[in-house]
Subunit: 422 residues, 2 copies
């Protein structure tokens, strides 16, 4: 089948005014990449029917004039019930069509109103607009909300897809409804994917020291991408031939050893959930960020006890029992203080695993001997002596703090029992 | 002067593959909005010279065919030294021009190399590419890096502006070099702006109950936008006539009273920094998020002591001295527990201000009586009894936690002395 030139369109004046960031387009591009399609471009447009129609006309003409290169335009937003939701009307103008009601969705809307003790006649006309599509469209049900999505053929084999801008509704609709439609129309062999994380390394070094030596796999049909995270990089490999992926995973593991992991955050969560072991944290320069990351995952209450935010030296002494002498002699950012933080935390919480962080996040407070970015991370398993690890993280305050919190979880990951049955 | 149709273009395959989010375009749109220009659309393109040239040709033809509506295209990325940086070559092709060196920038690059003990001849050709522009371009100096930006006239009064994709370099270049150029070519009266935050309210209610009654100001030339944050909305008003802004600020204050604030996070920081008072936090469902937000601001060590993350009930008892009976009788999410958390924190840290948070972030753990989203926030000023506030926050786990942490700072803001001399 002919592969489409894919354009992703986000509508919303809040985006083009810079008041809000469009995350839908990136999510869609990523999902398409996972399924083996590459995106040609993104477009973001204000809630202005004239501008939107102009862009859609341009895409339609392009598709009509060049039938060998079908166009797939995936648009989000503008399907809601407020006066600046223009998508349906614009597509009707583009296609010179009438609208038609999607009866299943209309009944859902009616039941929703009735369940709130209101009658059907209370439904505002604007509200009702959400259950209409251009007549003859391929409809995309919304299992997470009201507004119905749809796909319109704008030229032979070329489609304009419209979905709501609410991320939870769009994602459900994409996975459950749109993807099967795309596979039917532009189906390609199913790509397989492997992802590995590599810690304490940047994108360019990874390219230089590892990817340069994978030319054989690349020329055999493997595709790859790398994305810099805070404290690690995420390397993604795509291929239809699974043996290429097995080979690259073997090589990356042999090359980076314990620095190469799978998703550390998920595996830490799974391991602690399964083993019934508990975790506590003592944070200085991260000020709560590590705890916030851990508790960001639902179900973390099964193992996370809590801990202490000891931003000031006094609190290191009073909340964790770090000795005043230690701080005076070695400083708050030192292996000694870091170690006593982990020990004190372990004593006070009785946690199976205790993590401590103390460092200089900047932009002020650095010296020649202890520069901005210097961070000590402590790790203690109950009943064993604590260990500390010294890092010098690059970047600004935010980057240093993110690096420190992520790396602490990496260090915990290293000593956890096998995460799951593989 | 004729106002341009503004298109912002981001280049980078990491963007169109969904591996990285383009924040430059939003930043530029926001700055342009502040200066009184509105953006027509955003485009994101992969590092593919053919695709980039196609888009630029399309814009150039549009500008040529419709001289009454000049085009301003502002493009970021692709000016670096790696093999996927195609911007310069693409613009040369578009304009049918030769490149020329920017001598000032070349010397800067040479000095940079010499300062690192390398000779000029070590500079790779790819490196050198960064100091070239199309001949006759209007150049935009880079005070934060090497790559030079430029503006090319693609049709009468229509310009294509190219800037580096590194945010720090782009922002410097935009403010210091591009803005004066734009004002000269498309100068408009300077708009004034006012921003107010309104707490515990959504965008649509704000529109319904407040903005609907501002039609007189809108028809007199005021422009506005609103963006939903977690726990509050941010309302932005633009006008060239400052008296319109004074009037709307007066009205919004009278309408929302103490729920209407300026930037709470900055004001809390300023107030505590100036007054020398200290702050501590005790967090349950937010797990460290409040501490992380506070310490996200540089200089927060001047007043932030730290505190306790008491995710489990045991830690509420052992770290904060909450009574076991209280938790057994009223539950961990109750005004009683919340109040004892704030009191215990205050006793242990001796902070001037203590904040406590306990709630149900979900998705599990809710009951009819205590549903997901129920959060108690405690506030204590040293020497005074603690107060607690009950909230029922909408949304998912992440939203509930963000709401809770932001609202705690709002509650602190309410009792702080005047932030600054106005």
């Amino acid at each position: 089948m002919k592969q489409p030139q894919i354009t992703i369109i986000a509508t919303g004046s809040e985006i083009t005014a810079g008041r809000s960031i469009d995350t839908n387009s990136g999510w869609i591009a990523n999902r398409l990449f996972e399924e083996g399609w590459k995106v040609r471009n993104f477009i973001a447009l204000p809630d202005n029917p004239k501008t939107i129609l102009e862009e859609l006309m341009h895409l339609k003409r392009k598709a009509e004039n060049d039938p060998d290169n079908p166009v797939l335009a995936i648009m989000t937003g503008g399907l809601g019930s407020t006066e600046d939701d223009y998508t349906l009307q614009t597509v009707l103008d583009l296609q010179n069509k009438e609208k038609e009601v999607v009866e299943k969705a209309r009944i859902k809307l009616q039941r929703f109103f009735e369940s709130r003790g209101k009658s059907y006649s209370d439904i505002l006309p604007a509200m009702l607009r959400q259950v209409y599509v251009p007549s003859g469209s391929y409809t995309l049900d919304n299992s997470a909300g009201i507004a119905v999505g749809f796909a319109e053929e704008i030229a032979p084999s070329s489609f304009l897809v419209c979905m709501p801008g609410v991320p939870s509704e769009m994602k459900e609709m994409f996975n459950r409804r749109l993807l099967p439609f795309l596979k039917r129309n532009y189906g390609i062999e199913n790509l397989k994917q492997a992802t590995r994380w590599v810690w304490s390394i940047g994108e360019s070094l990874f390219q230089e020291e590892f990817m340069k030596n994978q030319k054989d796999l690349l020329s055999a049909g493997m595709d790859w991408g790398v994305t810099a995270q805070k404290g690690y990089i995420k390397a993604i490999f795509n291929a239809s031939d699974e043996s290429l992926l097995n080979e690259v995973v073997l090589r990356i593991r042999n090359f980076y050893k314990e620095l190469c992991t799978e998703d550390v955050f998920t595996e830490v969560h799974e391991s602690l959930s399964l083993s019934g072991k508990s975790l506590a944290v003592a944070e200085s320069c991260t000020g709560g960020l590590l705890g916030a990351k851990i508790t960001d995952i639902k179900g973390s209450s099964a193992y996370f006890l809590g801990g202490a935010i000891t931003y000031s030296n006094d609190q290191k002494v009073s909340l964790l029992g770090v000795s005043e002498d230690t701080i005076a002699k070695y400083g708050a950012v030192s292996t000694e203080t870091c170690s006593e933080m982990a020990d004190g935390l372990s004593d006070r919480t009785n946690a199976d695993y205790s993590l401590s962080i103390t460092g200089i996040a900047g932009p002020d407070g650095g010296t020649d001997e202890k520069p901005v970015g210097l961070v000590w991370i402590g790790r203690k398993e109950k009943g064993k002596p604590s260990e500390t690890f010294r890092y010098l993280f690059p970047g600004n305050r935010e980057t240093i703090r993110e690096n420190a919190a992520n790396t602490a979880l990496f260090l915990l990951h290293q000593i956890l029992p096998e995460r799951k049955i593989k």
